[in-house]
């Protein structure tokens, strides 16, 4: 191989992966030790206080201008609804950013209610999986979504460990991802608590700085050791979430993934992203090397009997 063609090869392969080189390094740095959002706000959900009145659902519906539900918000029969052969309770979707579900845990004499909405993770999987950067974690702690750039691949829905984002599948021309946005535009930005927190008659929801909420949560556990499980769900789970939960029973009894781990989802793909610059750096040299070797060998063979060699090699790979 002459010098000229080697240069050509380099130029061509560089052109081929210029894009990936641009993308490579940034990615590898994206994850890593992460301090969190010092001023981030959050909500502490106390399952022992919630009575399943569904006022939060109603308030959210109004605040976010969502369509009226089939059944009114004071209809308790929705708690009996199950889906997919009883395997699933209600979940947030395009018409409801939050839902309240009822559970009947074995070690509790009364039913428990749990409000479900986006937990506004510190290192959101939806954000890190999005290839057009449609998600932003704001300094107030909300994870918001920009429908202007969303392509509709729904990777964020695959990635969200809490199964939160819903999608407006029925829209043909402007389908978007729908999820709780922490009332970011209308309230959070102005320092106001979100609509659902504001309305809750039981003070089951406490709004405040995330770091204060962690203290409050642990205080409650300490003052009422019999009342709560010694665990503040969301403090550490998946890198921490802005919404955190206190429960009297094991978390899997109220529909949580009991053991999601403390690693943010992005850590799962870090290994792979780390290999990208490696492949970019090693492959061109390695395969050009193979090529030169093969050329050399072939050249030697040409001096002998090419045809014979080819025949012999026929079924050889």
């Amino acid at each position: 191989m002459s010098g000229i063609s080697r240069r050509r090869f380099l130029a061509a392969s560089l052109a081929g992966c210029a894009a990936t080189t641009l993308a490579g390094p940034k990615k590898a740095l994206a994850a890593g030790s992460f301090e969190g959002y010092p001023d981030g706000m959050g909500v502490l959900v106390d399952l022992t206080r919630c009575i399943g009145c569904r006022s939060c659902e109603a308030a959210c519906n109004k605040e976010q201008n969502l369509p009226a539900p089939d059944r009114p918000f004071d209809d308790k029969s929705v708690f009996d609804e199950t889906f997919h052969g009883g395997k699933q309770k209600r979940r947030p979707d395009e018409n409801a950013y939050t839902v309240v579900n009822r559970y009947s845990p074995d070690d509790s004499d009364r039913p428990l209610y749990r409000k479900v909405q986006c937990n506004h993770c510190n290192e959101p999987a939806c954000l890190s999986s999005c290839f057009v950067n449609a998600y932003t974690k704001t300094k107030e702690g909300a994870v918001v979504y920009n429908s202007k750039v969303c392509v509709g691949c729904r990777n964020c829905m695959v990635a969200c460990p809490f199964n939160i984002p819903g999608y407006s599948y029925s829209s043909a021309f402007d389908p978007v991802v729908k999820k709780c946005i922490f009332c970011h535009e209308t309230r959070l930005k102005k320092g106001l608590p979100p609509a659902c927190v504001d309305v809750c008659p039981q003070e089951a929801l406490t709004f405040g700085k995330r770091k204060d909420l962690i203290k409050i949560g642990h205080q409650r556990i300490q003052t009422h050791p019999g009342r709560y499980l010694d665990h503040l769900y969301g403090e550490k789970e998946l890198g921490g979430t802005s919404w955190m939960y206190l429960s009297p029973v094991a978390f899997d009894e109220v529909g949580f993934d009991p053991n999601p781990g403390n690693e943010p989802i992005i850590n799962n793909v870090k290994d792979f992203l780390g290999t990208v610059p490696m492949v970019l750096a090693i492959w061109p040299a390695m395969f050009t090397g193979f090529h030169l070797l093969a050329k050399k060998k072939e050249h030697d063979e040409h001096n002998h009997d090419v045809e014979k060699q080819h025949d012999e090699e026929g079924g050889d790979q």
Binding site: K27, R91, S129, V158, N268, V269, F272, H291, D311
Partner: protein
């Protein structure tokens, strides 16, 4: 077409009509050298076209229906199963099945295995079309398909694996267009373009390997975002991307065997002797390569199970399903290939290839659909979703056939003497060794 040839028609394989000594016009080349009447006649006589016609009659309106009324009318578009058949089959299965381009490119261009040249172009075309249709499946599935270029030009999310997939598939698609364009340039008779591609062939091949490694792997890494959702037997925190990359190798090789088998059965008139005579030998060679890759794949699958210590799951119903996938989709073809290579039983190797393809498709469907949300519930695709997936596959077959009938993929283009001479004169000496494989017929002319 066969009967027309029987009556003396001759498929176009050069610029000049042998009977009249005149240049074929582009129109007549498109018509395969037939008159429009003859062309229509042979198309209507083919029963396969009638089947295609029925599929299109049902499927095309459904595709239009999807774009007018949204995904919800043709899919079970659910918030728990955001990805259905379009991506499960169209993207996650079509892409590995199209790994053939870079596999054969590597074998021929990098490792100098010129004995695979008769089938190289078919492999390149298979790669190009597979990727193209993976993108088409994707377009049908995307909520806002017109925003497909967004990750390239409008808004970047470089920390996302999907960003890699998008960029790599897009760049690799253009690499494949360049690779396949050689046949097109021959067909339209533009030797300049062909010479240019031959000059950068090695660079194209190497960038093909890089891009393929990364995006085949990246498709697997996409599931690393959902560690809790994919059943542990199909999920491997550390090896997911290696599993996907590694299994794409037998997938690509077997797809070439499968396609060449179909081609030989259904369009023998279009294959030239170089293709027909070498096919059995090439098939066995590919089978051997595929079986080695399958053995590697089997080993790393087992390592994956052992590494995360998931042996316990093997005793469950999911374990049985996993073992079914492994035994039928991996171990059975390994045995078939081993026997076939040993006894030169080409047809057995072909059976093995089809079984492998089944296994790979099953693996991708398992990961993306069946074992996805295994703790939640089982998603069954909407019937319209199935019909649309089949329709797009039928379009793929039609485009495949359209190209194979015309471009010199499974036959060589007969250059006119003066053109060949001009090409020879214009070819710089050092390029000859590095790019000769691109055009087998050149060596014949030599």
């Amino acid at each position: 077409m066969k009967s027309l040839i029987g009556w003396g028609a001759k498929p176009v394989d050069s610029h000049v009509n042998e009977k009249t000594d005149q240049q074929w016009s582009l129109f007549r080349k498109l018509m395969l050298g037939l008159t429009p009447g003859q062309y229509l006649g042979q198309a209507l006589r083919n029963p396969f076209n009638w089947i295609l016609g029925i599929i299109f009659a049902i499927g095309l309106p459904l595709i239009a229906y999807r774009f007018i009324f949204g995904l919800s009318v043709v899919t079970h578009g659910s918030n728990d199963y955001p990805w259905g058949l379009f991506l499960g089959f169209g993207l996650f299965a079509m892409v590995p099945l199209s790994a053939s381009g870079f596999m054969l490119g590597t074998a021929v261009e990098i490792f100098g295995r010129h004995d695979f040249e008769p089938i190289e172009r078919l492999a390149l075309l298979n790669g190009l079309l597979g990727y193209l249709f993976a993108v088409i499946y994707l377009l049908v599935d995307l909520g806002q398909p017109w925003r497909l270029p967004y990750p390239m030009v409008v808004s970047f999310g470089p920390a996302a694996v999907l960003f890699l997939v998008a960029w790599h598939v897009a760049t690799y698609l253009s690499v494949q267009v360049a690779e396949v364009s050689v046949s097109f340039f021959e067909w339209i008779g533009w030797l300049g373009g062909k010479r240019f591609i031959r000059r950068i062939a090695l660079g194209l091949t190497v960038s093909g390997i890089i891009l393929s490694t990364l995006h085949q792997g990246a498709l697997g890494a996409l599931f690393n975002y959902a560690p809790g959702k994919v059943h542990p037997l199909w999920y491997s925190a550390s090896f997911q991307w290696i599993h996907f990359f590694c299994s794409s190798i037998p997938a690509g090789l077997c797809m070439v065997i499968a396609v060449s088998t179909v081609v030989k059965k259904t369009m023998a008139w279009r294959c030239d002797d170089n293709f027909k005579d070498n096919l059995d030998r090439c098939t066995l060679g590919l089978a051997k390569g595929a079986s080695l890759a399958l053995i590697t794949y089997l080993a790393i699958k087992m390592i994956g199970v052992a590494h995360d210590n998931e042996w316990g799951y093997l005793a469950t119903g999911w374990g049985a399903w996993f073992l079914f996938e492994m035994v039928v989709g991996v171990i059975l073809p390994i045995i078939l290939f081993a026997y076939a290579v040993r006894h030169q039983a080409v047809n057995l190797a072909r059976v093995g290839a089809f079984v492998t393809i089944f296994g790979i498709v099953l693996n991708r469907l398992n990961t993306a659909l069946i074992a996805f949300n295994w703790q939640l519930y089982q998603e069954v695709p909407h019937i319209f979703e199935v019909i649309i997936a089949v329709t797009i596959f039928a379009i793929y077959v039609v485009v495949y056939r359209f190209i194979l009938y015309r471009l010199p993929i499974i036959f060589s283009w007969k250059e006119q003497p003066q053109e060949a001479l001009a090409a020879q004169a214009a070819r710089p000496a050092p390029i000859k060794t590095s790019t000769a494989p691109i055009g087998a017929m050149y060596r014949k002319i030599d």
